[in-house]
């Protein structure tokens, strides 16, 4: 068997296996620090490092998984279609919320990064991190960031957002389910949407919808964002 094939089989089955395992653990003990999003990469990193392998070796064997983000983007057509009633009823409110949220996300990331002295590709890679996965990496490449780094920031945002969202709902009076859903969908993409589903059905539907639409909005606005200096 050629070595590259062994690499693909080994690393892919480890990745899928750890993911499956951490999902089961999280279902049993739903703590934020046990989220599969956090546990799976950590376990894999420990294996890669302890076998003295490099990121190159690892990604050569698992790149096909990342490619599946393409068809996953297509799959978002279904939630958009199924929530079309929600769009019809609330589109003005949702649109304003998404525009404000996106602008705050990009400008505050850029401004705060400048404040603490992060610049260049790292700063640019931070800009699209609130957007869901397939979109974020796309935008990152478009505006001069490093898509791999953005993937890391998206993960941290997802974990942080699920926790921060709960804190915000506990401290502030957020009156409507529409606002609670938008908060999670815009702030913490897929991880936030999962949390919103636990809070309520409307919250979950709104979060999923907002997540997709904001992703699209950001891809379309990427040429504008690219005007921000690194």
């Amino acid at each position: 068997m050629p070595e590259s094939l062994i690499h693909i089989l080994l690393w892919s089955s480890l990745t899928i296996g750890f993911y499956w395992l951490s999902k089961r653990i999280y279902r049993r003990w739903p703590r934020w620090w046990l989220m599969p999003l956090a546990v799976t990469p950590l376990l894999l990193m420990m294996v890669v490092v302890s076998f003295h392998e490099s990121y190159r070796d690892y990604i050569d064997g698992t790149h096909w998984l990342v490619l599946l983000l393409g068809p996953a983007t297509v799959a978002f057509a279904i939630p958009i279609y199924e929530q079309r009633g929600l769009i019809r009823r609330h589109w003005p409110v949702l649109l304003v919320g998404m525009l404000v949220g996106s602008v705050v996300s990009i400008l505050s990331s850029w401004g705060l990064a400048a404040l603490v002295g992060l610049d260049g590709a790292i700063r640019l890679s931070l800009l699209p991190r609130s957007v869901s996965t397939p979109f974020a990496m796309e935008v990152s490449g478009e505006i001069g960031g490093i898509p791999d780094l953005t993937a890391v920031f998206v993960v941290i945002t997802g974990i942080a957002g699920a926790v921060l969202g709960d804190l915000i709902l506990a401290r502030f009076r957020i009156a409507t389910a529409l606002a609670r859903g938008s908060l999670f969908g815009l702030g913490a993409h897929g991880a936030g949407t999962a949390r919103a589903h636990q809070i309520g059905a409307t919250e979950g539907a709104v979060a999923g919808l907002v997540m997709v639409l904001v992703g699209l909005l950001n891809v379309l606005a990427a040429p504008l964002v690219a005007l921000l200096p690194g």
């Binding site: 990745t15 899928i16 993911y19 599969p36 999003l37 799976t40 990469p41 894999l44 490099s54 990604i59 990342v66 599946l68 393409g70 068809p71 996953a72 983007t73 297509v74 799959a75 057509a77 279904i78 958009i80 279609y81 003005p92 409110v93 304003v96 919320g97 404000v100 949220g101 705050v104 990064a113 603490v116 002295g117 992060l118 790292i122 931070l126 991190r129 996965t133 397939p134 990496m137 791999d148 890391v152 993960v155 941290i156 945002t157 942080a160 957002g161 969202g165 915000i168 502030f172 957020i174 009156a175 409507t176 389910a177 529409l178 606002a179 815009l186 702030g187 991880a191 409307t202 891809v219």
Partner: protein, 135 residues
């Protein structure tokens, strides 16, 4: 029974074929962006095309929703490999990493507060007096 009905019936009962259909829409989108020189990811074109066909009722959502669900429910798995890129960025484990964490936490909190308050404000402004409870 027309060929279209037969295809639809087959798809309703075969989730694996639905997964392949989603995949085919992606390939089609990639082909369109490559050939047409469109500066958008192929997935977005595929999404647009599929959404158009659903709205025009050329495709029933039953023919594809289980396939789409397969991609969406385990989407996190697809970008786990990209996260290991941190191994190539040792600078993230030092002060730079702390700075990045600060930016992400602060910015995410700001985004969430701004979005939630904007949506609530708009909702009231548009004359919904019953602001509490369900939207």
């Amino acid at each position: 029974m027309t060929a279209r009905h037969r295809t639809a019936r087959f798809l309703h009962h075969h989730p694996a074929a639905q997964v392949l259909t989603v995949f085919a829409f992606w390939l089609l989108g990639e082909a369109v962006t490559r050939l047409g020189g469109i500066p958008l990811p192929g997935g977005i074109i595929g999404l647009g095309l599929l959404l158009f066909l659903l709205i025009m009722r050329r495709i029933s959502s039953l023919s594809i929703r289980r396939g789409a669900g397969w991609f969406l429910s385990d989407m996190l798995l697809f970008f786990v490999p990209a996260v290991l890129a941190v191994l190539d960025h040792p600078e993230l484990f030092g002060l730079t990493g702390l700075k990045i964490l600060f930016v992400i936490l602060t910015s995410t909190a700001l985004v969430m507060l701004a979005t939630a308050f904007t949506v609530d404000r708009c909702w009231k402004y548009l004359g919904h007096r019953e602001a509490s409870g369900h939207a």
